[in-house]
Symmetry: D2
Subunit: 142 residues, 4 copies
């Protein structure tokens, strides 16, 4: 992560299995790109999402939004940029920008996901201090 | 379609391949449910999306939003309810509600997609009259 | 199920999200069709795969094979025909044929999956009597 | 590629969206891993599959087989090893081994795909000389 910017970059090569009949990435698959982005964001912070779960917290998506500008195509190398947005008592927001990484970082899409913080029984709980601190250090607005 | 309500209902049985490690449908797959909903909405109107393309118009998603309430699980029968929302000169909006269809129509998620109207060269064009009329008759706010 | 034939038929409408850049169903998605076929086969037998799991048995795929003849395309209605094949002490085989259901049942693909019988700890166990009997009645070669 | 071995290695991090309710990678997704493997195999040879298509040849999968040993899980880093097998006049075979890359290369699955060589009209044609030579150099049995 660039500490200055709070952005984590991840790259992904588009498969045949990702695109649809228009030879563009199927719109639902951008939510997979978002997941890949936030997984690498967490790993980069020093705590994987798997470790968060092992600590007894789950962070399910409660809302997802994607705005599509241009289309990624088969075999494109795409760049996923992930940031942490607003961090609240029991929820947080990740923000994503997707670029084609080959001809000068052409912007393809952008979006966000909102997440609740739940305990293993599925009840909403306060974000534990260790996550709150991590997200704040990573640039989250608290 | 219930002519009164402008709603088209579609059912889908959740596969193992649709759920993730929490035994809930992966969040990205709701956008597949939305696609299924609007495909059946169009078929119900009397013109499939394939026929729209054959007429020389494509309606790509420019924005997608989903709000997740409760989780669909493996082998659940889900109900997708689709409506047409605002219809503009060169764009339109579909709205979706997802229910679990077994214990009293439990609401699971809701969302919308915005679509542009393009010609085969990818240029934004006015919605053709036949689509505008169809969408209006189906309850679209024009 | 036609008791005579031991075949269960399931239909599925192909989504944009199922096809790839050649406008044909992505080859990996046929394994989803196989899953849909065997889920409906089990339901038709009177015991869903979910109920099998609730009885303490899991039937993971140990081998999958698919032979592709012709391609399913966007918006095709496909027909999945599922049969039970050889049933052994601790394993069984499902067999599938995929057809396009619109112009005279054009054969698209065929294949099979082999399944082990495991207990919840992941150890291979003998097929329980109730499953063995069900599969035998459904036409499985024992 | 290790010229000695004719093997190309590709790594992939397992997403939540790849696993199913048993917290193991969905069996159909191994065919995506195979595609990723052969895409990188081709790129490593110096000619991407996209370039093959641009030369007027398509290589659709006519048969796929996968044997599952152990399960990849969420957040596993997997290693895909790809080789070229038999190369015939109008078809070829790719072979794959999938490992978990973290605790000593645990073997997870292995399989193969057979491919026909078609022209853009979908007719079977002889493999062009440039592909035949490439595959032979990469270790294909001719």
């Amino acid at each position: 992560m660039s500490q200055a910017s709070g952005v984590v970059q991840t790259r992904y090569r588009v498969l045949y299995g990702d695109v649809d009949a228009m030879d563009v990435v199927y719109y639902g698959n951008y939510l997979r790109f978002f997941e890949r982005g936030r997984a690498e964001f967490m790993r980069d912070l020093g705590m994987t999402y798997k470790q968060v779960e092992e600590q007894g917290f789950i962070l399910p998506v409660t809302e997802a939004h994607c705005h599509y500008h241009l289309s990624a195509r088969y075999d494109d190398l795409i760049l996923i940029e992930t940031r942490i947005g607003q961090v609240k008592r029991a929820s947080m927001r990740f923000e994503y920008q997707i670029f084609q990484d080959e001809d000068g970082r052409k912007p393809l899409a952008e979006g966000y996901t909102l997440h609740a913080c739940l305990n293993p029984e599925g009840r909403i709980v306060r974000l534990p201090g260790f996550l709150y601190d991590l997200f704040e250090k990573a640039g989250g607005k608290t």
